[in-house]
Subunit: 225 residues, 2 copies
DNA sequence: TTAAAACTATGAGAATTTTAGTTGTTGAAG
DNA sequence: CTTCAACAACTAAAATTCTCATAGTTTTAA
């Protein structure tokens, strides 16, 4: 099982290399996209792991060029939260999966295992949550409403994700605090309200139909109308 | 099993009351320290849960007065991070346990169970980590070095706690990132170094013997000299 | 011994998260 | 139909967390 890792930052590169080798994968490395392309064309890798931002040839271009050359090797893209424009480009560049930094190494390993299992590469596709034009891509962490990209912070994302997973259900503030903040208790402050407010500004403000609703004395719901 | 809960903030009070009643405790409530004292003197509670900051009679004074009246009922103090001066007063006021807000309700329940088990009230005493004049009280979250109080943020506290639990061992940056930040990976930034720097400023700067040491190329250790 | 490379320290600042206070709403009781 | 109290929205500011750029240090190797 041979894997190509492409990354310009030496520390990160060697951390991945070492981690993978400890798990008995054969690892080739490349410091930039150009060398990566050469290697990928020449050898038959089971998987390519590549950063997006790199000198020479970035991850997207690399991915597209390989696909155009008929190379079907699964590609796992590493990205950092907030590289939004890049992410959008990536949607149709042929990359199989994304992993948003920072992440746990075990998470990377899980992805690697899944992607190197023949045929499963299409099985574990983009995991997204959808509701009334609102879309959350859990892989790339990109949120859109009616195709429009919405930038959320980590906390906002977690809150929205929880509401999406419980759409239609009224969620009390205590419930939200427990599940989004891991706080099982009244802190005396109104942080849930504040964050609902933040979300509304980003998700409902510029749209006609509001999705976040207040149920007086009960909590909040994500629902149509 | 009868419990007295003392708290001036109605929401918090009722949240605790409800939670405890759901777990089949009988709950009496008081909105301030004066009423609490009356109730505590009159009835024989298995446990008293009290906030520290309250109108009339604060938690510390309440605790002390009850002890002086010969009432041995275990007392669980609720406190918020950063109420430092108050905390110091509390050390010898006879309170059995502290719980720092925000907390999980299950945590409160666990404490309640432990405190209402007869005899165990002294078993589960102040849990502290100590090393060379440095002391961390895990209950009150108060850190001192040579009796001097040191204010740490949540992250700094977690980092120091991890180093205390592994005193003498060299901890790599990856290891620290994993255990303190739950990040299993190189993010390309030097946040560990930055936080080590923060800790040093607070813990070592004003003292002769330094406790945090750099092991070049390996990581950091907490040790004498 | 010196220069380069790798690694670490530090200051400043941006972004996010959290707190606090004020204003606005809602629903229930009189 | 008012009035009040509880609840929620909003705003601003404080605190914390994290990033980035630069300067300094240690090791390695020529």
């Amino acid at each position: 099982m041979r894997i190509l890792v492409v990354e310009d930052e030496p520390k990160t590169l060697h951390a991945i290399q070492q981690g993978l080798e400890e798990n008995l994968y054969e690892v080739d490395i490349a410091y930039d996209g150009l060398i990566a392309r050469q290697l990928a064309m020449r050898n038959n890798y089971s998987l390519i792991i590549t950063d997006i931002i790199m000198p020479g040839l970035n991850g997207f271009v690399l991915s597209r060029e390989l696909r155009e050359s008929g190379i079907q090797t699964p590609i796992l893209m590493l990205t950092a939260l907030g590289e939004t424009e890049d992410k959008v480009n990536g949607f149709d560049s042929g990359a199989d999966q994304y992993l948003v930094k920072p992440f746990q190494f075990v998470e990377l390993l899980a992805r690697v295992r899944s992607l190197t299992k023949r045929g499963s590469s299409t099985l574990m596709t983009h995991q997204t949550l959808k509701f009334e034009g609102l879309e959350m891509n859990l892989d790339t962490k990109v949120v859109t409403r009616d195709e429009q990209i919405i930038e959320l912070t980590a906390r906002e994302f977690t809150l929205l994700e929880y509401m999406m997973r419980n759409q239609g259900r009224v969620l009390s503030k205590v419930q939200l605090a427990e599940n989004v903040w891991d706080i099982g208790f009244d802190t005396g402050t109104n942080f849930v309200e504040v964050y609902i407010n933040y979300l509304r500004k980003k998700i409902d403000k510029n749209f006609d139909t509001k999705l976040i609703h207040t149920v007086f004395g009960m909590g909040y719901v994500l629902k149509k109308e």
